[in-house]
Structures are given as structure tokens and as C-alpha cells.
Symmetry: D2
Subunit: 298 residues, 4 copies
């Protein structure tokens, strides 16, 4: 199965052929048959025995690295060497970039208020991984869709740039508010991916889109990490939803580092003071209308 998957790099996940039709809860209510309501293919657990994707968990813990085990969990089959190397690369490219991250900031505010467990702040930080911030979900979706058009990369790039400039005046995966000339992580990820035979159709299409956008804008708008990561993971055969999740989780250890620092050395009950920019622009002071005050108290 993994070999056939490798043969088709556009394959999303490993189970396409056998995926049952997705069913609505109303169908269960109507039929009264709930026997397959909670079906999973990921793992099986009984007393004293756990199998993950069919393999004994003892063997997996013994013989797979963390990133290999993650690949198995997500895809259902073991990665080959190339896949293992590239997937580890994807996981480690985000790291951290100080406070240039909505996620780190959200996590620190939550940790400053809820320091007893790291979990609420981790959740808060992960939630700040949406369409605007560096999620590779949208870049990957764009690339996978455009690959499906059956055009040359140059032609697909023109069409994709047209569509996105029209829709949002920006193209997913390109541009960064601070790294105007070069995003060092994106450049490094792309270079290593190329050296490991991991920059394939989706990566090359992103290159073409970068060139097309520069032509259109008459200035370079370099690839950001979300773009490079989306391309790499799409080339590895992941689908956009999972790619978005991997992207969010690739910051999770950095979030935990921020949370630990916040709890140990930070400022409990963080606020934004006037001295750091808080600014009120609403209505001037006013009193409640007299008729409101004369009503009986609620």
C-alpha cells in the first residue's frame, strides 16, 4: 500500500478506495442501527494490548522515531526513508520567532491568567492558527487544486494568481509582514527538501506562482513558511486539513516554551496598558437617559 501511494504523489491519505460514504446522524436515527457509529481505523485497544494501524505498540515504541510514528498515525502506513526525512523536516521548520506570532501572544496571555496547567494556554495558542496567520492549510489547498487543473505550472500560476488577487488581493503562501526580502525558514526548508527529493509538483508550482506574482507586482514577494510547508506536505501526499493541523502543531513546542517562560518568569494577569499602545476611540462620556434610570431596576 505505501508503495502504491508513493507512485501517486497526488494521493490524499491512504484510504481513498475503501472510504465508506460519510453518513448523516439522521440516517442513524432513522435506522436505529448504531453498530458502526464509532468506527476507527487508527488503533485497537484491549486489556494489556494496543495495536496502532495493526502494529503492536511495543514494536512501534521500540523501533520508530517520534516523527515516523506520527507519520504512521496520520497516514496508516510506515514512511519510507525519504518520507521520514522530509516529514521530520516539516515538523521542525517552524520553531519560534519571538513575538512575531499571534499564537505565542495568545498563549502567553492565557498562561498569565491560568498558570496551573499548561493545557489551556496551549489550546489558546493553537487556536491562533487560522486562515490569516501562518497556516499551510490554505496554501496547500490552493496548490492541490491548481495541480488538478492539468495545466503547465506557468499557466496554472497565472490562473491561481488571478483568482487570489481577485478574491483577496493576496496569494496564500507568499509574503511576510517582517521578512520582506527572505523568510529564512522557508528558504532553508525548500533547499533541504530539494536535496532530499521532496520538492516536487506542488513545490515547483509554488515556485511558478512566486515568479508570476513578482512579475505582476513588479517586486519580489517571497515564499513564506506556510507556503513552503504546504507545498512540501502536499508533495508528501497529505490533504489540506491534516496539513493545517501539522502546521499548527509544528509550533506547539515553542508555545510550551513560551508558556513555561510566562509562568516562571512572566507577568501574572497581563494587560495592555496605555504605555504600550492601548487607545480608546469610542463615544465620549455620556449619561444614561433619564427614562432609563426611572424604570424599575431589573
Amino acid at each position: 500500500m505505501p508503495s502504491s501511494k508513493s507512485a501517486n504523489p497526488n494521493s490524499r491519505g491512504n484510504d481513498e478506495m475503501t472510504t465508506p460514504p460519510r453518513r448523516h446522524v439522521g440516517q442513524y436515527v432513522a435506522s436505529g442501527d448504531w453498530s458502526d457509529y464509532w468506527t476507527t481505523r487508527i488503533s485497537r485497544a484491549e486489556s494489556g494490548k494496543i495495536r496502532v494501524r495493526g502494529y503492536p505498540i511495543e514494536e512501534l515504541i521500540e523501533h520508530l522515531s517520534y516523527s515516523e510514528s506520527a507519520f504512521l498515525l496520520l497516514r496508516g502506513e510506515l514512511p519510507d526513508e525519504r518520507e521520514a526525512r522530509l516529514f521530520d523536516l516539516a515538523l521542525r521548520s517552524g520553531m519560534d520567532q519571538q513575538f512575531i506570532s499571534s499564537a505565542a501572544c495568545a498563549a502567553r496571555y492565557t498562561a498569565s491568567a491560568f498558570p496551573d496547567s499548561p493545557v489551556p494556554a496551549l489550546a489558546s495558542g493553537l487556536l491562533a492558527s487560522g486562515s490569516v496567520t501562518g497556516s499551510p492549510q490554505e496554501s496547500a489547498a490552493m496548490l492541490i487544486e491548481a495541480e488538478g487543473w492539468g495545466l503547465t505550472h506557468a499557466a496554472a500560476a497565472v490562473r491561481a494568481v488571478d483568482a487570489w488577487l481577485d478574491r483577496r488581493r493576496a496569494v496564500p503562501g507568499l509574503g511576510h509582514p517582517m521578512h520582506k526580502q527572505v523568510e529564512p525558514r522557508a528558504v532553508t526548508l525548500r533547499r533541504i527538501a530539494m536535496e532530499c527529493d521532496g520538492w516536487r509538483q506542488h513545490g515547483e508550482l509554488l515556485d511558478a506562482i512566486e515568479i508570476e506574482l513578482a512579475r505582476r507586482k513588479e517586486r519580489d514577494i517571497p515564499m513564506n513558511l506556510a507556503g513552503a510547508l504546504g507545498a512540501l506536505l502536499a508533495d508528501l501526499g497529505f490533504d489540506p486539513l491534516v496539513i493545517g493541523g501539522i502546521g499548527a502543531l509544528s509550533y506547539s513546542m515553542a508555545l510550551l516554551a513560551h508558556i513555561s517562560e510566562e509562568v516562571r518568569e512572566g507577568v501574572p494577569l497581563r494587560i495592555i496598558p496605555e504605555a504600550l499602545g492601548a487607545h480608546y476611540a469610542g463615544p465620549d462620556d455620556r449619561a444614561l437617559p433619564e427614562e432609563r434610570k426611572r424604570r424599575p431596576r431589573p
Copy 2:
């Protein structure tokens, strides 16, 4: 206690000596000086340049594995070989065990309702990593506290078991609702940790506590994964808060696998039907008192 842990065995994390006093936001308000309000030691980012714990991010992406880079983020220094091997072991031991997990279930319910992004469901699943479920935070706190008593392990075990049976009638890190005889992951993690010189004071103390609890209860209550993981990570020098975070995140890829499966093959808008156990035990049908109905409508 974990004497090995480099030069200063009591050190939790790497920055103790230089940690500034934690400050209250009221002190900032009073002083008006906010210049060090947002201080971090994790990374520094400027246009085109990112340093993590001082190292150029390009070098880190090129030369560290994912788990080594996570260790660096959390601890501030590179792991040596032993630490790298043991930390990767810690990350990969959780994997997944079907639906024997509050976290997987919470994640699937959220994914069934919010399928457009994986992030809400990931957050929901992580939040189900608290004091009751398999968080190693509490086990680690117990072990680290007990190591500080300066007793033999046998004596510390008696005292710890006394305290916890009194407080909660259960001891953190021991026992599992389904794996009554043996938790296969805990056993495997402990064995490999021993082979890699990673089962040290905290591990041996947990062994002693397991023996003491069996003596007291006159039956085996075997170590669970949270216990084994807490001991291993405490022996590696992590503090309980970070250990709790690592424990939660060690399930994150499994959560993502469940979320992906739920969105692709699951049941949108999941409920709990009567057929699967929903049961009402509240008041019988009753009508609002007449005087409520005669009031003007709110």
C-alpha cells in the same frame, strides 16, 4: 536528586540562577516602566534573521531532528545523545489507544461540528488532558516533591502512598481502568529508558511506590503511562508544568489522526442517542406555575 542531570541535579529547566523575580502587573502600573514587560529568552527575530536560543535557525533546521529542536526550545540548551534519545522516546510512547481516551472523544465531537479547520478540535482534545486523565504533570510533581524529602526510596514511598491514599484514595501514575495487569506502553517506555540510562532517581522512586501500593492493597496496581512518562521526564530534568505539556502534546498527532478520520469518514453533528446509553434521570414532566405564566412576558 537526579544527580546526573548535569552539574546541578535539582535544576528544573536551565535558567534558575538568573531568573528574575516574577513581577506583578501592579508593579508595572505603579512604576510606569514597561521596558521589560515582554521579555523572552527563547528566540529573537528581525527582518530576514531568526535566532533560537542564540543559534541561527538555518543551522538548527539543517542539523537537528524534530525532537532535538523541541528539547532546545524547552530547555535552552542542546540535548546530548542520551537526552535526545530519551526525549524522543517520551514523545513517541503515547501514540493512540482507540477511544480509551477522553481527549480523542472530545476532539471527535468537536471535529464533527467544526470540520473546516483541524484547530478547534485539536484544542478541544488537548483540553481533555487534565488531572484525571493521563497527564504526567501530577505524577511528576509527586515524584519531584518526594525526592526532595531526602529519604530512602522505600521510606519516601511509604510516605507518598500514605499522603495520596489519604488525599484521594489513589496514587498518581499507578492504575488504569482497562489495562489491569499491565500497561504495555508504560512497560515498554520503562524498559527502553533503563537500557538508555534514563530510569534514574524518579524512575526508581516510582518503582518503590508501585511496590508499596501493591503491598498496601494486596494486589498489583501497575504503573500507567502517565506515571512512567512523568518519571522519565523528571529524570531528564523537566519541571511538572512542562511535563504536563509534553504529555498532552504527545497525543497531538493521534488527535489529528482522529480529527482527519472524523472529518473524512465520521458522522457530522455527533450526538449520544438512547441506543448508546443516553438516559434521563431528572424531574418528571411538569408545568410552569400559573403565576409565572401570568407575568408580563420578559
Copy 3:
């Protein structure tokens, strides 16, 4: 200002005329001027003094009910009597319906694992308010968009039903997996809204859509609560994003009731057992390939 708003029921929020252009963080980085980065119109706080939308908070606490104060927070102006009555109706119509809710189930799983604070479970439950479950965000967006077409309601209904059946084979706001004949909350909300002059363009358009869908499907697919709530709140002038938030929060007290019940009387560490439907459908047992086992341990 509130009176002028009432004159235009399609008005979304109260600030349209004066809304500054939304700005990208890159513009701040480029300009170096961060003076208006953290601007708000909601409230102003100084030592001993708080103003909300300009009003002294003491007067608001004294003279407004909870739902009036919520309206003021969200809209910037006091509700008139009609608006106050209808907004309170919107907030109270969801209540609870046992376990027929992904949100209640997600909250209970999280509470069973994290019982020390109600907040993680509340967050988990709210996150299960997405596009699939009963969020009124999408219904409202559909109605507001269709109102903008400038067609008769009958014509707009045809076009909207066409579009949604094509896109998703379902129309937002109509249908329920269990309440096949009538959703009692939707019916009650609609009736009271009509009696309070709160069922206006968007409500009537939803009525037309319900009729058109029944004609097309040759059976009734009755309005659900998300539909009725979306119509009511759109008629009150809220925008879809805020309507989605109100919808999620309208279940928040029910979630808290479930969380309290779970922590006090529920089952710590909830799972899904085979007896309640857990079912494994993945690969059969298999062993790791020998060459994996011969590799040096990670």
C-alpha cells in the same frame, strides 16, 4: 444613533460610516508608528473609573438588565424596548436538549478529564459550534446575502435553494436529524418574534425558503433553531460573525450545567467502550518489517 439604526434594519452593526480601513501589520512595521495599534471603542478604564460605550459602568449595572448590557456591548448603543425584548428571546431559546448536541458531549468529555476548573470544558464545548452544528452564522449569512439581491422573497428563495442544494445538498437553517416534523424551539422563537414585531425581512425570507425547499423535496424540512435564530438576529441588525458568537454563547449556561453535573455525578476519564459502539475497522494485526527492527534504535 440607535433610532437611525432602527430605521435601517439591514444595517450591520453601528459603526459602518466611520470604520477605518483595516490595516495589515506590515504597514505598522513599515511606518514604525504603532500609536493606534490597540484601538478600541468598547470601553475605557482608568484607576477607579470604567466607561462602557461612554456610559459610567455604575449606571449600567444599576439600570440595565444582563441582556440589555450585552446588546450595548455588542452594538455600541442601548437597545430600545423592542430590541431588548427580542434580544433576550434570542439568548434564551437554545437552552439544552440532553445529549442531542456535539457541544454538550465535547464539554462532558473534557470535564471528565479536567475537573478542576470549568473553563477548559466550556471552551471545548463552545468549539463544537461550527458550520455543521447549530450555528446560526451560516443561515444568517445566507439570508443577508439573499436580501441583498433585491428580488422578491419568492424569487430569492428559488435562487438560494438552487445555490445551496448545488453546493451542499442541504440548505442552512432547515432540517434536523431528530426533530423531523417540528423543532419546538424554532417554532416558539418564530411565534414570539412575530408577536414582538421581530420577524421582518430575513424572517420572511426564511419562511419563503422553507416553502421552496418543501416544494422541491416534496416533503417538509422544517426550520431549525439555527435558522430561526439567524433570521431574528439578522432582522435585529447583527452581522453573521456576531450572530455565530451569540448562537454559541446561547448554549453556554447549558454547557456549564452539563460540566457541573459531569464533575459532581459523572464518570471521570470517560471513554467509548465496545459496549457503547466502539468498533475497529483498520488493518489486521501485523508485525513491523524485519529491516525496521534491525535498524539502530532511534
Copy 4:
């Protein structure tokens, strides 16, 4: 029933007498009987029919206000007039105070990254309601515990202040980083509660604690909103967990207002720039050791 509850102010919730013993999931696994695993007393739903705490949902929507329906959900019985008035007061006292709130800040960061749905940002904001920030959970727990000592309020205040100064050098419910002289919401809530016969044992005990702390510190450390709210809700018979949840939710409409403002007028992808205080205090630039670079690439 509500009246009898008033007779016993220490009563937490309404179901004490009949609460079944809390059961461990291991007991279900052992017995194989899962018939009461998913039991609830809150509501019952069948096709076309919903009962909440026994009452037809149509009657509740028609005749109860939002805050009355919330009370019923949480407590199981209808509030009397005094309870309804005081509970609405509790819900509306928080409102908003600009950016003097970790919760509003966390919510805005998340909204700036995930603007498509209000729900992730709501969750993020609620999660910033922990032990440090203004949660009334801890104040209420302190007051309820101290009421149980059977001492005079003056004597209980001495003991409580002793305990908390020893434990944390601060007393829950007293003090605010900005409102040094008076917290306007706390003062207003307490005044109105008194006028409505809602400031009873727990309120008066908090008054005594405030006096005792001032005596000890030789300066006033005034009651904050979390303290006043915790006292009021404890006097209404809620338990600390539910009080914490009500406290968090009492900011939820303000969070939604912030989220709406952020999405409509804010700054996508918010960061903390150097100009607003970001400061790096970690190791100087350094290179990876040469032996790391010579290892084979991971």
C-alpha cells in the same frame, strides 16, 4: 425548594440528597453494565419534544427571561424573584474594561489569526479565566470553606487571612493592579446586592476579611469584582466550580464585542513589536558545535 435551600446557605446546588456516588470508569469496565453511563438530569429530548428540568421548553422560552432560564439550567429549580434579580445582577456586573484583561487580549490575538468564526477566539478568551485573573472560583471556595468553620466572621477572617498570606501572600477577592482605591464594579454590585437582600453570610464574611487585611497591611486593599461576585453567588447557593464558570461567562459578551471589533477594524496577524516592548534577553548569537554539523542530516 429554592426557599428551603435559602434556609441552608452552605448548601451547594440542589441535588445533594439524591446524588449517586461518583463512579470510576473502571467499575463500568469491570461490570460490563453501561446502562447509566450517560445519565443527565438537565433535559430530555425526543422527536418534536424537549423538556428542561421537567418543564416544556415552549413554556420556558415564553415565560422566563434569559437569566431566569440560566438559573433553572444550573440549579434545577426556578429562581424566586429575589434570586432572579440577584442572578441577573451577577451576570451583568463584569461587562468590560478595555484591555485591562488577559481574556480580552488573548481573544483579540486569536481573532486576528482566525477571523472566519468567532468561536476559536471566544474559547481562547474564556481560557484566560484562571486562578490568577478575576475568577470568582477561588474567592468563593475560600468563603464557603471559612463559613464552614463555625466561627464568628471576625475570627474566621483572622484565620482565613493568616492562611492565605502564608500560602500566597495575597487573599483572593481583594486587591486590583489598577483600581487601587476602589473597584467601581465591586462597589456597585455589593451595594445593589445589599439593597436586594443578597449580601448575606458570605458577603459579610468577605467584608470582615477586607477589614482584617487592611488592619494587617495598614492600608486598604479593596474588594475586587471576583471577590464580590464570589460572595454574591455563594450566598445564592452556587458551588465554586459553577461560580467560576459564571464568572468566566460574565465576560463572554464583552469578548464577543472585542472579537467583532478585531475582525472588522483590527489588525490581522497581530504581533508584539519592539516598539511596543518586545525584548530579547536570551543567549547571544552562537554557532552549532562543529560535531553537530558533521553528523549525518536527520
